[in-house]
C-alpha cells in the first residue's frame, strides 16, 4: 500500500530513464494510505491527484508556472472561486538567512513554516529568542513586504541583498509570476507569500499553497513546488522536476464543509438523450450511431414508460438536449429536438445536428 504517488513515480522515471521523452509530464489520480491518526477530512485511505513535469538535467522555470496554471484551470472548470495561490521560492529565505549569517537555519525555517498557526506575535517572540532582536526584526521586515507580486518582487531586489541564492530566488519568483499571467492565470488568483515553505526537505525552489479566501483555516487545498532531483535515491541521473498535488478526498471534504458540493449543479456528460416513442428503435439506433460518429455522447431511453416518466428522467439527469423519435418522425425522416433549458422544440433531420 503506497503512501504517496511520488515515490513510485520516481522509481518509474529512474527505471525507464532511457525510454522516456523528456520533459516528461504525467498526471495521476490514485489511492494512497497514511498511518496517521484520522483528523477532520484527513483519512488513512484517500485519493491523491498529482501532476509532475520532469526534465533531464535541466527544466525551465516556466514549468513551475504551468503546473500552477493547470490547477487554476481545474478550479475554474468546476466553478470554484475565492481561491488564492500563495507562492514563494525557498531560495529567497535560504539566501536571506545566509546573508544575515544565521546558524540556526532549520529552526528559523521551521518557525516561519508555523507562522500562520502561531500568529505574528508568538512568531516574533520565538524568533527573537532564537537569533536576537536585530536579525529577527530584519526577517520580519522582509516577511512583511506588501504589494502585488510585481511590487513585492521589486521591493525584494531593492533590499540590496547580494547573496546569490536570494537573487536567484527573487528572479525565479518574478519569472513564475509573469509566466502565470502569460498562461492566463489572473492577478487575483495568486500572490507572493514569503512565509510559504512546505516543510524542510524536498522542495528547493518554487513552493506554493492554495488557500480558500475566507476559509483559510482549512489549510491548503492544492500545493507543490520545485525539486532539484526527483529520483536521486534510485539513479545517479539528475532529474529536476516541479509538481503539484491535490488531496482529492480532503478537497471534497472541504468543499462539502463550505457548502460548495451541496450547491453544485452537476452537468450531465450526455449531449443527447434519445427517447423512442412507439416502435422506432431501429431509427433511434441509426440516429445514435450518426451522432456518436460526430463524437457526441448519446444514449437511448430503452425502457417502456410513459412519456412523462421519460421526460422526468431526462430532467433529473440534467441533460440539455432530448431527441424525441415517434413514428411520425420516422416517416418524415426527422427528429424532434427539445432543449430542456429553454424549452424550445425543433424538428429537423438528425444529420443537421
Amino acid at each position: 500500500m503506497r503512501f504517496d504517488l511520488t515515490v513510485p513515480f520516481a522509481r518509474y522515471v529512474a527505471q525507464y530513464y532511457n525510454d522516456i521523452n523528456f520533459p516528461f509530464k504525467r498526471y495521476q489520480i490514485g489511492k494512497v494510505y497514511r498511518g496517521e491518526r484520522n483528523q477532520k477530512g484527513r483519512y488513512r485511505e484517500f485519493y491523491q491527484c498529482d501532476i509532475d513535469v520532469i526534465g533531464k538535467d535541466k527544466l525551465s522555470i516556466d514549468n513551475d508556472a504551468w503546473v500552477i496554471s493547470l490547477a487554476s484551470k481545474a478550479f475554474k472548470a468546476i466553478g470554484l472561486s475565492n481561491y488564492k495561490f500563495q507562492i514563494s521560492n525557498r531560495k529567497i529565505l535560504k539566501g536571506l538567512l545566509s546573508e544575515i549569517e544565521i546558524d540556526e537555519v532549520n529552526e528559523v525555517m521551521g518557525l516561519i513554516d508555523k507562522y500562520d498557526k502561531i500568529g505574528k506575535e508568538s512568531f516574533s517572540k520565538e524568533l527573537e529568542e532564537l537569533i536576537g532582536l536585530e536579525k529577527a526584526q530584519y526577517i520580519n521586515k522582509v516577511l512583511d513586504i506588501k504589494g502585488n507580486s510585481k511590487e513585492i518582487g521589486e521591493k525584494l531586489l531593492k533590499l540590496n541583498i547580494g547573496n546569490e541564492y536570494f537573487i536567484e530566488g527573487v528572479e525565479e519568483l518574478n519569472k513564475v509570476c509573469s509566466m502565470l499571467s502569460i498562461l492566463g492565470v489572473e492577478d487575483e488568483e495568486f500572490e507572493i507569500n514569503l512565509k510559504i515553505i512546505r516543510g524542510l526537505d524536498y522542495y528547493t525552489g518554487t513552493v506554493f499553497e492554495t488557500m480558500l479566501i475566507g476559509n483559510e483555516s482549512y489549510g491548503s487545498i492544492c500545493s507543490g513546488g520545485r525539486y532539484d532531483n526527483l529520483a536521486e535515491k534510485y539513479t545517479t541521473n539528475v532529474l529536476p522536476g516541479v509538481g503539484i498535488s491535490i488531496g482529492i478526498t480532503r478537497l471534497f471534504f472541504v468543499l462539502k464543509e463550505i457548502g460548495f458540493i451541496d450547491n453544485y449543479k452537476v452537468k450531465s456528460n450526455l449531449d443527447y438523450l434519445i427517447i423512442p416513442i412507439g416502435d422506432t428503435m431501429e431509427y433511434c439506433g441509426k440516429a445514435m450511431k450518426y451522432l456518436e460518429e460526430k463524437n457526441y455522447a448519446v444514449t437511448i431511453y430503452f425502457d417502456e414508460d410513459t412519456l412523462k416518466k421519460k421526460m422526468n428522467y431526462a430532467n433529473k439527469l440534467g441533460v440539455e438536449n432530448v431527441i424525441l423519435i415517434g413514428e411520425e418522425e420516422v416517416l418524415e425522416n426527422k427528429v424532434k429536438v427539445k432543449n430542456m433549458i429553454s424549452g424550445s422544440n425543433m424538428s429537423l433531420d438528425y444529420k443537421q445536428l
Copy 2:
C-alpha cells in the same frame, strides 16, 4: 479491501434508492483484491472495470444489448479486432432441463459450464453417466445447433419445447441479438453459444463472455449478464440489472501476451504542441489560450533547446500538429502549423485553427 465492485454498488443503490434516477447507469474503474493464489495474469490486487444498468422493478432487455454494445465500442476504440461475444440466456438451459425432467440441474449446469475445458467427448461421457443416454443425446443435440444468431434462434423455437422459461429465454436472446445490430454491433462480433453459463449463481437471464479468436485459451476478456435483483441482500426493493465486467489488469496481461501492446501505437491526446522559437512566449500564451477556449488540448514546449530537439520531442510524443512561433510569426500575427504525419506546413492566423 473490497473483493469486487458489485457488492459496494449494490449497497449504494439500496442506500440511495429514493434519490436515484432509474434506470441508473454507472461505470466504475477501481482496484479490487482477491485471496486466490496468483496465476498467469491473475493477481491478488488488480483493476476491474464494471458497467451496470439498474432498473426499478423492471428493466428492458434492450439494456442487455446496450452494455454489450459498449464493450464493442471500447474494443473498436482501441483497435482490437478478432474478439467475439458469445451470448446465451440461462433461461434456455433451465427450461430445457425442466422440459426433459432432469433432477440433477446443478450438476448438469456445472458440467456444461466446464464443457470447453474438458472437451466434447468427456462432456458427453460424464453427462450420459449422470442423466442417461437419451437425455444426454438430446442436450447435446441442442448444444450442437449451428448457424448465425438468427438461424440458431429459429432452430431453437422449432424444437417445439413448450416450457415457458425456454421460450422466454429464446425470445430474450433473439431480442438481444437484433438490438445488437440496431446498436451498431456487427454480425461478426457476436454469436450465440448455449454453453455459456457463467457459474451457477447470480445471473438469471442473458449471459455472455468474450473470446479472442485464435486465443481462446486465455478465456473470456469481458463478461457479464442479467441479474434479477441486484441488492436483494440489502433491501426489499426489486432492482433488476444487467452488468458487464472487464478485468483491466488481466486484459492488459492478455493483450501483452498476444503482442497487441507491443505493436500499439499510442496516439497523443494533445491536439497541438506549441514550440516557441526565440522570445515569443507571450504570443504563445495567447495562442494557447485561444485554442483552449475552442476545447483543443494544447501545451507549450517551455524548455530552451535546439529546434531539432524540440521537433524530436514532438515526434516521439506522437502529436499530429505542431505550432511553431518565431519572432517573424509574432510580427506578422501568424503561426506556422506543421503536420507531423504529412509533413505539410501552413502559415496562418491562429484564429483560423
